[in-house]
Symmetry: C2
Subunit: 215 residues, 2 copies
């Protein structure tokens, strides 16, 4: 199975390829994609081997064919549902963000504690009481959870998701989650990102950015 950074880069390449296609490019060279993605051309070629595609030195890769190849690896054969827990501002931002954007991945149930939200359809997604999380997630066979609750609630929500059969969690709460082996967690750490940027922004008078690192 590809490592998780490879999967992350494939997701990025696909988004860049869609942008290239939109601006009229039918073919692309590994060094062009590498420059857009801020990685090396050798890295791009290795990653695209994972999806079974190789370019020619003359014409590079066919953009549409690459998009299909990446989709065959990344996308679910059928639409994959996700559960969002916490329908606050961030939760609602994610609901609008994903609405209709990824045909193979969609947020199919939202959960919240606020009585005013329960029973509502928020950007196309029904909001249920959080007490019903385990039952509904299990019944719908949902395997992906998105945690957008306050830090103090995050671990017990993660525990409930795991009990309901969730195998992957995107965690936006500013705390690390502890999950059993076999469950994949990706932490989107907004505080860390802002603190890093604030730090490097203060080093003004700089001729160059921070030391280059492969990310």
């Amino acid at each position: 199975m590809p490592a998780h950074r490879t999967i992350g880069r494939l997701s990025l390449y696909r988004r860049l390829l869609h942008a290239l296609l939109k601006s009229g490019n039918e073919t692309v060279h590994s060094h062009q994609l590498a420059s857009l993605a801020d990685v090396t051309a050798a890295q791009v070629r290795r990653d695209l081997m994972v999806v079974g595609r190789s370019g020619t030195p003359r014409r590079g890769y066919n953009v549409r064919d690459l998009i299909d190849g990446i989709g065959a690896v990344l996308d679910a054969p059928m639409t994959q549902g996700a559960a969002l827990v916490g329908a606050g501002n961030l939760g609602r931002a994610l609901l609008t963000f994903f609405r209709g954007r990824r045909p193979k991945l969609s947020i199919t149930a939202a959960f919240d504690v606020e009585p005013a939200k329960i029973g509502q359809v928020i950007y196309g997604c029904r909001c249920y009481p959080v007490e019903e999380l385990e039952r509904i997630v299990a019944e719908k066979g949902i395997r992906v959870g998105i945690v957008t609750v306050p830090a103090s609630e995050a671990q017990h929500i993660a525990d409930a998701l795991v009990r309901a059969g969730v195998k992957g969690i995107v965690n936006f709460a500013p705390v690390p989650l502890h999950v059993p082996a076999g469950v994949y967690v990706e932490h989107v750490d907004v505080t860390m990102s802002l603190e890093k940027v604030a730090f490097f922004a203060r080093q003004n008078g700089l001729a160059t950015g921070p030391p280059a690192e492969q990310t």
Copy 2:
């Protein structure tokens, strides 16, 4: 200057140390912090050398002293302002998230194109028309920008921020930004995170998670 991953880890350690303090721990060993942060104990000790702190084999580190030491590296001597561009759901989520949380870092101006938002105070932050971005950011001496606009607007907003003197950008738009040397960009790639989690969640029947990688 510390590399950007070091800075990211220091931000994470500080959050974990605050949590430890809250649960009554006055001292911590590198291996405990390492386990919470999901890195090696040697990594923790190296990072803490950057902030000029070393523990003793017997008692470890003093938690409060570490928090102070990290703050001396990470925090601005005076409150550092940030500009948020795009006061939609995500923008508003960030405004609530940071309100009063980081005394040394605060979102001091928001910008949007929607007439209904302009002039409003959203979670304590005034919203200005985006046409005034360059003037206001330059006048206030803001060095940090947060981009929460749609993909199609992100690059020209980044250009305007850079012209106004911004040296660091947190980019939430799903496109890479091109900025001159000396400007630091951190991309919070929500699509990539969700696609990765969805991919690994599908590999159920797995005994273990994806191949371990240092993140």
